[in-house]
């Protein structure tokens, strides 16, 4: 098992600053996921760790050894690529054994290792086939097998599931989670799919514009985002953000005036000074539809039925649309006027610099 320490890592392209000082330590046996919108630098960061891109500043240490300038062939890391990158002219068996053959491992040992990997990934019937004779899921398993067979210090995954169809993706996600449990090797995984990030990760690193926005366990990020970016990025459907332009300060509470409705927010959950304006963030599942006496009212624009649940898109008085999670058997109709109850406990407040200015209460 290995650990990685990344210090002030920089990557400049000709006229583009791709990584702006990344500081990160990855502990032994951890499953770490880099997630972020396209162009945020997550793949660049992974490729820099792999040695496929050279950094322009900072350092990467593997088990306490500086590998910043080391060639990728000498780093003892294995990578699974988005396109799988299997060697097209070699059979599955040759693909699996390529690295071992280059390392001049004895033949008997190679065969033994290939056999055990192919058994554990159910590749046995495919060993003599060429990559083009395999399905997407099979190629994916060969690519993973090729990484495992070397027993590297760290596994790197570059969006490995994005070329698979939805059903297969869920299955491979589970297999990856199982694999990590079984091997216990440190793994770094890049994805733009927050569901993959949330389900696989021990810790998630959210990247934005070449910087780390927040690092934490999936639930931490979901419950306690540091910024509006994280709050909006994590969670489907997105968090609702309602501007509160009129705030009245009372002794122990803030009163938001939202187009004729008021919401009372306890003042002790505020950090820092009392704001004049704020953005109220509330997730769809913390809103509920009530027959009357809600905190907000609006008109239903559209209802999305997902089977196990439904999401109602509701237009508020300021023409903003918010999303409310409703029960599966809801009888809502488009155009209907509804009343919405807000779970004040779950509100997250942002200031106009998109920073969080409220404290989330610890769970009882």
């Amino acid at each position: 098992m290995s650990y990685l320490t990344i210090t002030d890592l920089q990557k400049h392209y000709d006229n583009y600053h791709a990584l702006r000082g990344i500081n990160l330590s990855i502990t032994e046996g951890e499953f770490l996921v880099f997630v972020g919108p396209s162009g945020c630098g997550k793949s660049t960061l992974l490729r820099t760790i792999a040695g496929l891109e050279t950094s322009t500043g900072g350092s990467i240490e593997l088990d306490g050894r500086d590998i910043t300038e080391l060639a990728s062939s000498k780093r003892d890391l294995a990578m699974v690529f988005q396109s799988y990158a299997l060697y097209p002219h070699m059979t599955v068996a040759d693909n699996l054994s390529f690295a071992l053959r280059l390392a001049k491992v004895p033949d008997a040992e190679i065969q033994e290792k290939v056999r055990s990997v192919s058994a554990s990934l159910q590749l046995d019937p495919l060993l003599e086939r060429k990559p083009k004779e395999l399905s997407g899921g099979q190629r994916q398993r060969v690519a993973i097998g090729r990484a495992i067979v070397r027993q590297p210090k760290v596994f790197l995954f570059d969006e490995p599931l994005s070329n698979l169809d939805a059903a297969l993706r869920v299955q491979m996600r589970l297999e990856l989670a199982r694999l990590h449990k079984k091997l216990g090797t440190t793994m770094i995984y890049v994805t733009h799919d927050q569901v993959e990030a949330m389900t696989l990760a021990d810790r998630v690193v959210i990247l934005n514009a070449g910087q780390i926005e927040q690092v934490g366990t999936p639930l931490e990020l979901y419950r306690k985002p540091n910024s509006r970016f994280v709050a909006e990025f994590i969670g489907t459907p997105k968090m609702n953000l309602i501007p509160a332009d009129k705030i009245t300060h009372k002794e122990d509470e803030l009163v938001f005036d939202l187009f004729g409705h008021t919401i009372h927010f306890p003042a002790n959950r505020l950090k820092g000074a009392q704001p004049d304006t704020a953005i109220v963030g509330i997730r769809p599942e913390h809103l509920s539809l009530v027959s009357e006496g809600g905190d907000l009212t609006g008109r239903i624009e559209l209802v999305e039925h997902l089977g196990s649940e439904a999401y109602a898109h509701i237009q508020l008085q300021n023409d903003q649309t918010i999303i409310v999670k409703a029960g599966a058997r809801t009888e809502l109709k488009d155009g209907q006027e509804v009343s919405i109850k807000v779970d004040v406990q779950e509100i997250i407040l942002f200031n106009d610099q998109d920073q969080v200015i409220s404290v989330i209460p610890e769970e009882a």
Partner: protein, 286 residues
């Protein structure tokens, strides 16, 4: 009904192509069986296979076949090997890559006659040639390439002419090579040479087969370079089949024997093509 309409519509082009091929071929076959010497007009009687006998027993025949095959194989090997190496070298971006590529491709734009003249007068000439100058500045005796090593001189000229074609095909093929595969090999501990050996060469198998086949078609019929530089000599040292046929038809005015030689060349081309396709053709189905 439908099929006959299709056939009817296809007929003009099929007939045109057939006529285009059949008329010259049948005329060649006809000429090869009659006495047809331009020095003896009017004596065009049927002679059976005598023209073939004359052509095959001609003292130039064995050297011509041998020279044709040596020329073909040497140029194929030189252009493919050097072509693959050069293409791999200029595949990675470097300063001046565009200019280097244009320079490497440009010999292809020069017509064979000019190519031969350049090599004959500027490079290989024992007095003014650059090779002679190099030899002299090293204190060596200048070599008269065209008379001392006539076939090798022709091979050098033709290789220079055809190398750009190979490079053009290989460079294009290399651009379609998957970079993630190379990166995966790097992560697997492969050096540049390993990647070249295990990924690039297999990736180039099909383009190599294409280059070999196309070059074969043209190299069996090399003529201009020989005509301009060595004139087939000294003796028959640089005479190939195409030049021997020219020699029969237009220097000895014997159209009958030349036609027989032409038919033999068709036969040889088919034999060579058969073996080449057997050897490299399996790459095309990968």
């Amino acid at each position: 009904m439908k099929r006959s309409i299709t056939r009817l519509l296809m007929a003009p082009s099929v007939i045109l192509l057939l006529v285009w091929m059949i008329i010259p071929l049948s005329m060649t076959i006809y000429f090869s069986t009659i006495r047809y010497n331009l020095l003896y007009p009017g004596q065009n009687n049927f002679v059976g296979l005598m023209n073939f006998e004359f052509f095959i027993t001609d003292p130039g025949f064995i050297p011509a076949v041998a020279n044709t095959l040596i020329l073909l194989l040497s140029v194929l090997i030189i252009t493919v090997v050097i072509g693959v190496v050069l293409s791999a070298l200029i595949d990675k971006p470097f300063f001046g890559q565009g200019i280097v590529r244009v320079l490497l491709i440009s010999p292809f734009f020069i017509m064979p006659t000019v190519n031969a003249l350049i090599w004959k007068n500027m490079m290989m000439n024992p007095v003014y040639g650059i090779f002679a100058w190099i030899s002299q500045s090293l204190g060596l005796e200048p070599i008269d390439w065209l008379s001392s090593y006539p076939l090798m001189s022709v091979i050098i000229m033709v290789s220079w002419q055809w190398l750009p074609f190979a490079i053009l095909v290989f460079v294009t093929a290399l651009q379609s090579q998957d970079t993630e595969q190379k990166e995966a090999a790097q992560m697997d501990g492969a050096t540049g040479l390993h990647i070249f050996r295990y990924l690039t060469i297999p990736h180039l198998a099909r383009p190599i087969a294409v280059v070999v086949m196309i070059e074969t078609i043209f190299l069996l019929a090399v003529f201009a370079e020989i005509f301009v530089s060595t004139g087939g000599g000294p003796g028959y040292d640089s005479t190939n089949l195409a030049y021997l046929i020219y020699n029969q038809a237009l220097l000895q005015y014997d159209v009958g024997v030349a036609s027989a030689g032409g038919l033999f060349a068709v036969l040889l081309a088919n034999i060579v093509a058969f073996f080449l396709i057997r050897a490299v053709g399996k790459n095309l189905t990968v």
